[in-house]
């Protein structure tokens, strides 16, 4: 079809016959898309063919058979259970779990810090505003790799030995072996506490919906959000106390040269988390600031002149408009954290890239499947997030002419 169109356009300058098709916007768009698709497919076919030929020449295999083979190396920190004899596939999942752990913790911290710094940036207090400005500029304008290395070698590696540890509240311990905190030990009956939490959560959501419908019907309102939050905290707490506290804590204890018990993370993890969340919080702060500033002063004045109560002004006028501006770039920062966590390799933290793309690849030599699997993981994360994002954007788009 593409060929006919091209000949058509060449053979006749008049807008008749197949030549006219070229002037039709939809036909032209379809034609260009088909052409692009053909080019992309062709390029990939060529790449794959080339790779196959090269692999055969060098005797490398593209198969996935090695995944069942024991990897035979140890990993210094694993979120999911792993032993030295486990398979390569297990190593892959250990790497994914570690990467997701780093990403999740950094995302939570970066969001909280970013929110506060962003609000501080808008403060009327000159010193507060300038300090947050300085924080943002410093962190945003130096390379992340440099910051990770600085936190690792400059801070967490220079901490005192276990015997001289920094101990906070007799439960949190910081030394050059890492960060230790008490581990929760659920006992018989703790399941009920968890169940109570889930029930309270669902109850709070139901309450919120009910309040909304009742307000529409009667005009009367009722503080559903604070009541719901109180429910979520109090119900599980009461169950917990009634069952005689079926959760105990196992604190870290100094034994010989090191701490045992509790949960611990290595210095590299601490450095990575601190660096990633500090760096990203600077970007998030700017996103929060611009989101809030995107709501014009006129909107607030209109709400004020209409005598809309302040909490409703926040919930129905400011937040919906600010979030529309904040959420998309915020999500892309979350993706950046996930991808940037691969810099862990510089300080030896075993994330996916470190244990899989580096150690496993060097040891097994299966470059193609290993690279492909790694890329597939990062792509999967990014695509999932952008799907969610697109549906959010479609939902909140402001309708204009």
């Amino acid at each position: 079809m593409a060929a006919t169109e091209q000949t058509g356009s060449r053979s006749s300058t008049e807008r008749t016959g197949p030549g006219r098709l070229l002037y039709d916007a939809t036909v032209r768009a379809i034609f260009l898309q088909a052409l692009t698709a053909a080019l992309v497919v062709g390029l990939f076919a060529w790449l794959i063919y080339n790779t196959m030929v090269n692999l055969q020449e060098r005797n490398l295999s593209a198969g996935f058979g090695f995944l069942d083979v024991s990897a035979g190396f140890g990993i210094s920190f694993t979120l999911i259970p792993y032993e030295e004899g486990d398979t390569y596939l297990r190593v892959f999942f250990v790497g994914i779990a570690n990467t997701l752990l780093v990403a999740a913790v950094s995302i939570a911290l970066a969001t909280i810090i970013g929110l506060f710094v962003g609000l501080a940036r808008l403060s009327d207090n000159w010193i507060v505003a300038k300090l947050s400005r300085a924080y943002i500029e410093l962190l945003r304008n130096t390379p992340l790799l440099l910051q990770i290395i600085a936190w690792f070698f400059g801070v967490f590696n220079l901490l005192p030995r276990p015997r001289d540890s920094v101990v906070m509240a007799e439960a949190f311990v910081l030394n050059n072996r890492g960060f230790y905190m008490p581990a929760p030990v659920p006992e018989l009956g703790f399941g009920y506490v968890m169940a109570a939490f889930v029930v309270a959560l669902l109850g709070a959501i139901a309450l919120y919906r009910w309040e909304d419908a009742r307000r529409d019907r009667t005009g009367k309102s009722f503080p559903a959000i604070s009541t719901g939050l109180a429910m979520i905290v109090l119900v599980p707490l009461v169950v917990h106390l009634a069952l005689g506290r079926p959760l105990s804590w196992d604190p870290p204890v100094l034994q010989g040269f090191n701490f045992v018990g509790g949960v611990s993370v290595p210095p590299a993890f601490c450095a990575l988390i601190v660096a990633l969340s500090a760096y990203t919080s600077a970007f998030i702060a700017e996103i929060v600031r611009s989101g809030i500033q995107s709501v014009s002063k006129g909107q607030l004045e209109a709400a004020g002149a209409l005598n809309l109560p302040p909490t409703w002004t926040l919930r129905r006028v400011i937040l919906p408009q600010a979030l529309r501006v904040i959420i998309p770039p915020l999500i892309s920062q979350y993706l950046n954290i996930t991808k940037n966590s691969s810099l862990a390799i510089a300080i030896g933290f075993p994330d996916l890239v470190s244990v899989w793309m580096n150690t496993s690849l060097n040891q097994s030599g299966r470059a193609i499947p290993i690279v492909a699997m790694t890329m597939a993981f990062y792509c999967l994360v990014s695509l999932t997030v952008s799907l969610v994002m697109n549906s959010y954007n479609r939902r909140v788009q402001i309708k204009e002419r």
């Binding site: 307000r215 529409d216 019907r217 009667t218 005009g219 009367k220 309102s221 014009s296 006129g298 909107q299 004045e301 209109a302 004020g304 002149a305 209409l306 005598n307 809309l308 109560p309 409703w312 129905r316 006028v317 919906p320 408009q321 529309r324 909140v396 402001i398 309708k399 204009e400 002419r401």
Partner: protein
């Protein structure tokens, strides 16, 4: 003599002074507006017209003097602004509609969430006022899908939905294309005829001539001249007023 002789005072302003930092924006303003009266304020840019009417509904806070709105003394620093704003409505030059809400939702927001009205009743009220300003068929559209004139009429309807006794207009037609000015002025004339108390900052002198009880001319933070439209246009007492009128008429 006056159209509203003996009516209650809707707004009384005595020796009002306001500063922005060092800048003295409003100087010894005295003003009394009775119920059902229509006042038009005009004057050059920066003379303090907006600031004056914004002091009435507490979008700005004054430093000296007294403002009484519907008999209630405005407390300094906006302490009773919620009470004051229950009796006032305001229409802005830039409409300031909420772009993420439909026309109907714009109108029902305060009635449902501020005045405790059931949604059905609030929607009925909103449709009544949307009909009054002639855009009931656009109720489910979003503000940015409407023309400027339609948006300003929605803004008027939205304000009326809070049942104000006094309407403040800050250059409601200045952001509009000429062909849309009339549709907004028509709504304002209808509102004036219905007995609403209104203070309008505007340079639409045709409108002033048609409905105003009094025209105020402001310059450099002072009310330089005030009087019924006849006197005001025929023989302005001050040079500054005359000069200004020759510019805009």
């Amino acid at each position: 003599m006056s159209r509203v002789e003996g009516a209650r005072k809707a707004i009384e302003i005595v020796k009002l002074n306001k500063w922005f930092g060092q800048f003295h924006v409003l100087k010894d303003i005295d003003l009394t507006v009775r119920e059902r009266e229509i006042y038009v304020i005009c004057g050059p840019s920066g003379s303090g017209k907006s600031t004056l009417i914004r002091c009435i509904n507490q979008l700005e806070h004054h430093q000296e003097g007294d403002i009484l709105v519907d008999g209630v003394l405005v407390e300094k620093g906006g302490k009773n602004q919620e009470t004051i704003r229950r009796t006032t409505g305001m229409v802005f030059q830039q409409f300031n509609l909420f772009p993420h809400l439909t026309v109907l939702e714009n109108c029902t927001l305060t009635p449902t969430l501020g005045l405790g009205m059931p949604r059905a009743e609030a929607e009925e009220l909103a449709m009544f006022h949307l009909k009054r300003v002639g855009i009931e068929d656009q109720a489910l559209k979003y503000p940015l899908q409407l023309s400027g004139g339609q948006q300003q009429r929605v803004a008027i309807a939205r304000s009326l939905c809070t049942r104000p006794k006094i309407m403040l207009f800050d250059e409601p037609t200045s952001a509009l294309d000429p062909e849309m000015i009339k549709e907004v002025l028509d709504v304002m004339v209808e509102l004036a005829d219905s007995g609403m108390t209104m203070i309008c900052v505007t340079h639409e002198m045709g409108f002033a001539r048609q409905v105003a009880d009094k025209i105020l001319f402001m310059d450099q933070g002072e009310i330089v001249e005030s009087g019924p439209p006849g006197e005001f246009f025929l023989n302005p007492r001050y040079d500054r007023t005359e000069q200004f009128l020759s510019h805009i008429l």
